[in-house]
């Protein structure tokens, strides 16, 4: 039961983008270990701006 609640919470965090920075850090560590990753505030700014370029909502 607890595991299910945890999985549900993970999905909610992923859906809302609350874990976007953690996922980005994982990606950086795995694929670009030589580069310094952005800070959370910097990353969030870029992520939000990218997310809203183009048609994102429909009727």
């Amino acid at each position: 039961m607890l595991a299910k609640i945890k999985a549900f919470w993970r999905a909610i965090r992923q859906l809302s983008g609350a874990d976007a920075y953690e996922r980005y850090l994982l990606h950086q560590v795995k694929h670009h270990p030589d580069k310094t990753p952005l800070t959370k505030a910097e990353f969030f700014k870029q992520w939000q701006d990218e997310k809203w370029a183009g048609i994102k909502r429909c009727c």
Binding site: A11, L26, H27, H31, E50, I55, K56, C58, C59
Partner: protein
């Protein structure tokens, strides 16, 4: 053994679905339970998903689970990210489901509950879902390219430009009609107006919270925002009873329309994080929460449907919009059955998250099924109202008369009894001064939802439920309005940038202000005319939007059909060619009638000529004579736009047919642009179906 159990289970679903459909189709009694509609819908969706969608995925598109998707190949940890299929489903559904599936079925309920429901079911499983799934698949196979790019690559420059211009024009009409829906819900309603106004500072607060105060804490910020929104609904009730504040928020439609335009302009030039992004978070949570609540309430309460299965208005005399069942049902309900706009989300945006091609069935086909289900629930919420009440709310003053007594007499005369006392009591329950002539669908949907919620969770709070429903609709209508104006601005900057490169710089402030103002002026014009038109602008604008949206769907289906034929799947190309044919018939006949009909409630030109004759003869009252020239010009402009839509549609279809026939004759055509097969290396760490 297991095999037999599975088969008999599906047989049971088929039988239950057939019984429910038969029940609702053959019922001619007093009333029918809404649960039958829900049951029929779920059975049809389940069967279509299990068999038709699976067949298309396996045999027509031939999805390949071993093939790496763009999300995997271009994974950058930001916009290209392979994502769990349920999370992608959530994103995709939140992106495609806007106010359209709520408004369309509400308006189409004037024909009765049956035609609209059947079209929602059939249109979705054979048309809308197939379109979304096919476009998602083709875009995934082409590095997440947009619909416009695919049209250009696969059909040629004509198809590509048609898709681009079509998207721009549809956006303008869509924003205008949605703006009008909000204005009609707010006019002379201090409660609704103050609640909707409060959503703006709340969104900004949430934006500041997640940008500066606690960067990236989107869940915290959204929870705060949702609580503030609920308080705003309650606070609106307080303002409604406050002597001086009440007057401040009690406004004419025209002033509210100007307010919406100023808001739209501000939202297009302000940075996204301040207004657009936080508002979108709030609207997504509200949308999903309310839809779940509505489904639970309908299942718990099992309300009876009071609207007849089919009303006499199928002959074209309906008060909400003029025109016969064919073709106008099929353009009134676009979203929920088939919506061309979805192709813009299914190409470009969603493929960047898709982890495996196998998820295309769930995300492309499944999310559209869910949107169709939302539309069926909107149909239920509209038809559980007394038909007399439904028509009193949704008929414009120009159709049934300005005075309440006159309106109820007209509507009762059609055989849908309603009294002024009943309407006054209902308005009082809902905390409104009047509910007459609140066209656009949002108020009647809110009354329907409030009465469903009220009976399921306690009658004491009807007014709160009503304004909650209004706030819920307004918040995501305004999100579409923000986002649409912004996208329109980018598209315009892009197009004008071809003529004057400087204007194409998206960060050059004079260009931002100039193009934003142009886009707002575009939809603002239609909104303005819609507000001053006594016959209710929704009756004119919604069909125009429907035709535009179906035209975009036809472009998407043409692209899909062209690709299928070019990839040697001529025999299976009917899966997209069939809905394309139907849409072409529907859109062309609707456009033909809108242009040539001599019925002034259907034909744009007939209405313009009629008004011009009356104006010349001097028989119009002074207030109508003053606005008549504007209304005449608008009707002519609408006729021109309709012609433009239908000509664009035919150009794209001919272009597609030309490419297909050249391909079949072995002549040169633009080559298939599918990206090469790269095997997937992703470790599967979640359970698949």
């Amino acid at each position: 053994m297991n095999h037999y159990i599975k088969n008999s289970l599906w047989l049971l679903v088929a039988l239950l679905g057939a019984a429910a459909l038969g029940g609702i189709a053959l019922n001619r009694g007093e009333s029918i339970n809404a649960l039958w509609l829900i049951t029929a819908a779920i059975c049809v969706y389940a069967l279509a998903y299990r068999f038709y969608a699976a067949w298309i995925a396996a045999k027509v598109l031939m999805v390949d689970a071993t093939r790496a998707t763009p999300a995997e190949l271009k994974n950058n940890g930001r916009d290209f990210v392979p994502t769990n299929k349920w999370v992608v489903f959530g994103h995709h559904f939140a992106a495609i489901a806007g106010p359209g599936p709520l408004v369309g079925p509400t308006l189409a309920a004037q024909f009765g509950y049956l035609p609209g429901t059947l079209w929602l079911l059939i249109g979705a499983v054979l048309g809308g879902c197939v379109q979304d799934m096919a476009i998602l698949f083709f875009s995934t196979r082409r590095n997440a390219k947009s619909l416009g790019q695919m049209a250009r690559d696969e059909l040629g420059a004509i198809g590509g430009n048609a898709a681009l211009i079509g998207t721009f024009v549809i956006m303008i009409i869509l924003i205008a009609v949605l703006g009008l829906v909000v204005v009609n819900a707010m006019k002379h309603s201090p409660w609704a107006t103050s609640t909707v106004a409060a959503t703006i500072p709340i969104a900004m607060l949430v934006g500041l919270y997640m940008r500066n105060f606690r960067p990236g804490q989107v869940l915290e910020a959204s929870a705060l925002g949702v609580i503030l929104l609920l308080l705003a609904v309650v606070g609106g009730g307080w303002i409604d009873h406050h002597a001086s504040l009440r007057d401040f928020f009690d406004q004419e439609g025209l002033i509210l329309a100007w307010g919406v335009m100023i808001y739209g302009f501000a939202a297009a030039i302000l940075p996204v994080w301040l207004l657009l992004a936080p508002r979108d978070y709030l609207s997504t949570y509200m949308k999903i929460g309310t839809i779940v609540l509505l489904a639970v309430a309908i299942i718990l309460l099992q309300p009876s449907i009071k609207m007849p299965a089919i009303t006499p208005f199928i002959d074209g005399t309906g008060p909400i919009f003029g025109g016969k069942l064919f073709p106008f049902l099929f353009i009134t309900i676009a979203c929920g059955a088939i919506s061309g706009f979805h192709a813009l989300i299914a190409s470009g945006t969603t493929p960047k998250l898709l982890a495996n091609e196998r998820d295309i069935r769930l995300i492309g086909y499944g999310a559209m099924l869910l949107e169709s289900f939302v539309a069926v629930m909107a149909m239920v919420a509209a038809t559980v109202l007394d038909p007399g009440v439904f028509f009193a709310i949704n008929s414009s003053a120009g159709t049934v008369g300005k005075e309440a007594a006159q309106a109820v007499a007209t509507i009762s005369g059609w055989g849908f009894p309603v009294s002024t006392a009943q309407m006054d009591a209902l308005a009082k329950d809902m905390g409104e001064a009047t509910l007459f002539a609140r066209t656009g669908g949002a108020p009647s949907l809110a009354v329907g939802m409030a009465s469903i919620f009220g009976s399921a969770f306690g009658k004491g709070m009807l007014a709160l439920w009503y304004h909650f429903a209004i706030m819920f609709e307004a918040i995501f209508i305004l999100t579409t309005l923000d986002a649409g104006t912004r996208v329109g601005r980018f598209m315009l900057q892009d197009m004008l940038g071809n003529i004057w490169p400087k204007i194409g710089q998206t960060s050059w402030m004079p260009s931002v202000i100039f193009t934003s103002a142009l886009v707002v002026a575009g939809w603002g014009y239609f909104l303005y005319i819609g507000v001053i038109d006594p016959n209710g602008g929704v009756a004119i604008l919604w069909p125009l939007f429907g035709i535009a949206n179906q035209m975009l769907a036809a472009i998407a289906l043409s692209v899909a059909t062209g690709i299928l034929v070019k990839s040697g799947k001529l025999k299976q190309a009917w899966v997209t060619a069939l809905p394309l044919m139907w849409l072409t018939i529907v859109t062309s006949s609707a456009a033909w009638e809108k242009i040539t009909s001599s019925d002034i409630r259907v034909g744009f030109l007939a209405a313009a000529n009629d008004m011009a004759t009356k104006l010349a003869a001097g028989v119009l009252p002074p207030d109508k004579a003053a606005i008549a020239p504007q209304l005449i010009f608008n009707q002519q402009l609408d006729a021109g736009l309709t012609l433009f839509f239908v000509v664009t549609l035919w150009i794209v279809i001919f272009d597609m047919l030309r490419v297909c026939s050249r391909h079949l004759a072995g002549k040169a055509v633009p080559p298939i642009t599918e990206s090469p097969h790269v095997p997937s290396r992703l470790v599967e760490n979640w359970v698949r179906d």
